[in-house]
């Protein structure tokens, strides 16, 4: 159902020819109102792509009438020309929608968000992209959410959508991301839509709260992208005004669902690793420890080999600044406490690691805080996928 599950939105996904292989590469999402409220969260990487610079500025106004997204090129590290191209893209979307019966109300470029994904350091083929916007606008429909989700794929093997409805209002969304997945944000493009009647401040609060414990806690390969963008648009078309807490909770559910799908489709992965850190003095400590475990290449290889190598978990914990006593650390792998009090625990032969999901619990034995980080194993396929091709 994707971004058109909520009332008030149309979308399209088409092949503009940006990708050499002819696959869909351009998506358009239009908010037909009556509200045009929006919030956004962007990469914390200091090297930001042109569309991130652009969209951050657009989102400052709290109003977005449409989002245009392309795969096949990140438009990152492309200098002033790259930014001009993003600007021209937004102008073209506004002009095209204003000429189009399906375009909804009056659009202006300053309310058009732009997102790009693909290879860094290459200018977009504007001679393909700009005509593609006309094609996409002509294809806009209330059923276009799936096509849009497909058009933003890069190395994703499947497209990712999620929807939660309740009490007459809906939050739906689409996501892409399979590599360069690491917190702050994970590398991804995400567009969420809702027909709830909520203002930009409410959207912002719900989105930041949700991403903090979902997309920000996905770490496939420790590599942070230049293009991460998560947008939440509200049309108000349902006429329903949910309680703030209910709305935030629903947004979190959709984000959690999409984040989990990203990990499930990570490049070359054969295992999804759920790392739960418990007994931490603070949530920050739990997150720091969880990320350190998530990024340990040796552990990620061991998990791939179905080897419950808890020594690598401890060596990863030991690199953090979190509060703990090394002699009180406990580690369980798939429920077996293979490490107790910083030393040998239950028999590691009791651990079965046949399933795709592997659960690691690290108990710092210090306090009552916890956090969950999702990661993947490290495989020869990951190496192949990221060495054989530029991406």
């Amino acid at each position: 159902m994707s971004v058109t599950a909520a009332q008030g939105f149309t979308a399209a996904g088409i092949a503009a020819g940006i990708k050499a292989n002819g696959n869909p590469d351009l998506a358009l999402v239009v908010n037909n109102g009556p509200r045009l409220a929006a919030a956004g969260v962007f990469t914390s990487n200091r090297v930001k792509a042109a569309p991130v610079h652009w969209s951050e500025q657009v989102l400052r106004g709290g109003t977005v009438s449409a989002v245009v997204l392309n795969s096949g090129g990140a438009n990152a590290c492309t200098g002033p020309k790259g930014f001009q191209d993003t600007h021209a893209t937004a102008e073209k979307v506004a002009a095209t929608l204003n000429d189009n019966a399906l375009g909804g109300g009056e659009h202006n470029a300053g309310e058009i968000a732009v997102a790009s994904t693909g290879l860094i350091g290459v200018l977009l083929p504007m001679d393909k992209l700009l005509p593609g916007i006309e094609t996409a606008a002509a294809a806009l429909s209330e059923d276009g959410g799936e096509a849009a989700a497909i058009a933003i794929k890069t190395t994703d093997t499947v497209h990712k959508t999620a929807t939660v409805s309740q009490d007459g209002w809906t939050v739906g969304g689409m996501a892409k991301g399979a590599g360069m997945l690491a917190p702050g944000l994970a590398t991804m493009l995400v567009v969420l839509t809702t027909d709830a009647d909520v203002d930009a401040a409410t959207l912002d609060e719900a989105l930041r709260s949700a991403t903090r414990t979902t997309f920000d806690r996905v770490d496939s390969d420790g590599c942070m992208s230049t293009n991460d963008t998560v947008l939440l648009l509200a049309s108000g078309a349902s006429g329903q005004v949910p309680a703030r807490a209910d709305f935030a909770d629903t947004v979190r559910k959709v984000c959690d669902d999409l984040a989990r799908q990203l990990i499930g489709d990570a490049e070359g992965a054969s295992k999804d690793i759920r790392i739960e850190v418990v007994g931490a003095a603070t949530e920050d400590d739990a997150v720091e420890v969880g990320r350190s475990i998530a990024r340990n290449n040796l552990l990620k290889c061991a998990i791939h080999g179905e080897d419950p190598n808890w020594g690598r978990v401890l060596s990863a914990i030991g690199t953090t600044k979190a509060a703990f006593d090394p002699d009180r650390l406990n580690v369980a792998i798939n429920g077996v406490w293979v490490c107790k009090n910083g030393s040998v625990g239950e028999d590691r032969d009791l651990v079965s690691m046949k399933d795709r999901e592997v659960r690691i619990t690290a108990d710092l034995s210090t306090g009552g805080e916890s956090a969950v980080i999702w990661a993947n194993d490290l495989t020869a396929e990951y190496v192949h996928e990221n060495s054989a091709y530029s991406s």
Copy 2:
């Protein structure tokens, strides 16, 4: 020449049966004086192996009469029993050397350093190790440096030694380490010896200064070990008292040589990557940026695929707190400035990456400081080596 290149030292390397495959696994290095001065640098991992706890305590006294090292087991995360085993090992070395004509002067356990390497979380087979100490003591010789270097190998394909002599005095050493190589320190055991007549304070100053710019700037896989130990022992047997600066410079040269050998033999690596960060505001900034580049799995895969993917360099730089303006970043790969002013530079097709050594230069265009970090590419062989076997 290894640890017996300097006068006043004997060494041995033997197979004690700690390794199941029967390969050499126990090394002994004895300082016959007249001086017994020593300095040590240890892992900054907060989860430290028993022998690290022991040897840190020994080194506080500034006197080491012998070093015993085993491969085949790290004795890390082994609880009180592991520490007792380390203590018993030192006691056995002291008693055996006191009974042995080649043992030099009077030994006591409090002056015996212990180092271990191998799998974390497994107790050492003391029934093999203790008799092995007698075998090693009986094999001590002034030519034993090579055998000692061979006995500390784990996944190393070659043993590593280095020697520099000048003005009648010598610094020599041996090193092991092929995986879990990351700063602070890289995962390694290193023993350096000298016959220069220098005190413990001079050794400490020279060793810390040398490791800071050599072993601490090697980053094979971002994984920090629990067992890193670098020791420097002085016998004074040459009777020569070098100038402090000359001595420090020579120690640095030997460390640099050994560090370079570690990178050259890193697990599964097909490329050695020399990352030089220039134009940094501070040396700390240069090191932070260098390490971030060194640990970027996507870049490491690209280098493996001989793909000059400078976008991944920029995305790694962007995750740091170093002072820079994204629009003034320059990146050269093997001398070709493929990124200029944060955007597309010279033609990437001009970059040849056929050689094993790949040089990346990242210019932050901010100040005059610089640093060099050495790293490796990420390969399917690394994944295989670290997933198929516990290590």
